[in-house]
Symmetry: C4
Subunit: 206 residues, 4 copies
Amino acid sequence: MANDSALAETNRIEAFSDGVFAIAITLLVLELHVPEAPDGELWHALREEWPQFGAYLTSFAILGIMWVNHHSMFQQIKRADRGLMFLNLLLLLWTALLPFPTNLVAEKLREHSIDANVAAAVYSANLTLAAIAFSAIWWHVLRKHLVDHELTKAEERKSVLRYSIGTAFYAACIGLSFISAPLTLLVQFLLAAYYGFEQLRTRSSS
Amino acid sequence: MANDSALAETNRIEAFSDGVFAIAITLLVLELHVPEAPDGELWHALREEWPQFGAYLTSFAILGIMWVNHHSMFQQIKRADRGLMFLNLLLLLWTALLPFPTNLVAEKLREHSIDANVAAAVYSANLTLAAIAFSAIWWHVLRKHLVDHELTKAEERKSVLRYSIGTAFYAACIGLSFISAPLTLLVQFLLAAYYGFEQLRTRSSS
Amino acid sequence: MANDSALAETNRIEAFSDGVFAIAITLLVLELHVPEAPDGELWHALREEWPQFGAYLTSFAILGIMWVNHHSMFQQIKRADRGLMFLNLLLLLWTALLPFPTNLVAEKLREHSIDANVAAAVYSANLTLAAIAFSAIWWHVLRKHLVDHELTKAEERKSVLRYSIGTAFYAACIGLSFISAPLTLLVQFLLAAYYGFEQLRTRSSS
Amino acid sequence: MANDSALAETNRIEAFSDGVFAIAITLLVLELHVPEAPDGELWHALREEWPQFGAYLTSFAILGIMWVNHHSMFQQIKRADRGLMFLNLLLLLWTALLPFPTNLVAEKLREHSIDANVAAAVYSANLTLAAIAFSAIWWHVLRKHLVDHELTKAEERKSVLRYSIGTAFYAACIGLSFISAPLTLLVQFLLAAYYGFEQLRTRSSS
């Protein structure tokens, strides 16, 4: 396969993925509803909706960071095969699905029953599956030598480790969900926010 | 028409099509609703929603594979005429419509009346029309020599046959719908999944 | 302004416009609802929804052809200024709004009261405003010499005439709406379909 | 970092941002509902929905102008770092959120209680946060020398001042919301419209 056409291929995969990320991240807003409240109580009713806003913010931050990571990963990929296309579709499946568990969490987070835990666990499971798909793409890319330059064994191990840690973190969140649903959401938001700020900081000092 | 401008034309058709595919595949999630369930019954209620998830997964897999096929087809097309544009719009019509029969199937699949069969038949009819549009594009492309290189007669016949088989398969699914609606959905999902995995496998061993 | 950067500018306007066209055309499906019908009556209920499908098809055809026209127009535009950007935003305003009058028509077309006429008139008014925006863009482009080559006076007059005829046609449809709402929709669909097929035919014979 | 890859990076940020802008601007229409009205009263009922249309128009104009500004800003940015990516995500957060306060305003604008003021204040706060994000991006870009050419101190000060004025204007609108909600919306719409027309005019005479 010629080099130009291979690059065109990864470009179109990126464009399609960007589309799905952009749509999923923008569709999140559809679940923020104008609260039904007695006259003059709008401000109070809006504050009561904090789980909606919390879930919105968390999912926005996570999808945003997934997009940045997807971006970084594909900058290193210089050739695409059909395997990469299908594994990427698997990742997009979990990306496009995220608004659903986001709604689950938004509506159930304040329930005192087990439902709040179930909602948080479904949310964490969705993220775990997305993390697994990320790992699978990277593993496939390494195995098929689709990167633009050869990585040393040490670099390979380090990059695989990084994806494994992400997967383990989200899997652990499934367990955490049954201890406290709001805490699970908070931890996931803080990690996403920390990751974002940390990037800002390390780049600022470099 | 200059070569560059012809290429720009197919590029813009691809970009527009990618947009419609990406939006349709992401809009599917809007039909997954938080179930209304008594306190503490969320997990049970979610499992009861399996037709929703089944229809979501099947449509996601089919739209994903349609996108991959569209992609492969347009990589071979080097010039666009208005005929191609309008036939492509016809394909996008059935693509953009798919979320509707997906909802039909999701809501009616467990009905014991004829409604489940009607829903599955409408779903299969939509896919048949999409397959016909795919065939029409390819037939137009061959007849107007819009491909980048001449195909031999044998290659042409083989490629046309491939599209005809897809069309016949979905048409047969319209009939199958009246025997068993869940089976129809399962067969369509398995074919899409098989097609995806098979691609992974054949590429791995090459 | 350098040539490359000017081209990049029109490219980004086109990409943004393509996004709005693709989203508007795909959002149309959200108004197709699973009909509520007694058990076993789904097929009957779907046929009763013909105004929904008619409005969907008509708007899809019109948006599709608007996209093709937008495409053709921008292929001739080689430089962008801010005026072009804002006039294009005006066109996108009416494009993005179209799903709303489409719903109006879908829900009111079978009413025997004046409501059916009002819905069709609002729909036609939306299309008239879009046609005016198209004309305004073209007029601006000619006046500011943003096309890639100079048009002769005769070519200019012909191209302006073509846009004026489109505008007059949709304006006439506002009047027609008060005679017959279904007829108005039918005429608009047939014109869009004719236009599409005619393009296919003339290109086939050339 | 090589020049080509740096440019590819800003291009992909722009493409993703364009996607979010295009989706947010097109999703606004989903909040325009067919009014429930007695037979023959559709026209009257539509006119009663003027806050919906007013909010739609205002948000469309503001998002359109934000897109134009984003466009102009990124034309001057020739390199991207992760800091730029995350600050841009912050801007997109407020962009993607805008349909929610738009709905708030659309539904509450005619209330005689404090709710109308609260809705307008939330709307203005969202725009203020977007303006702050714009300023933060520009400040980061200047500090990290990501622009394509060095700006003089005077140019820098002037550009920073321009963003500060925008931020101050929207912050002032939060206060204005508690005097009159419809006036707040009108002022914001007029400014956006003026800004658009002014661009048309200055370019026409140049």
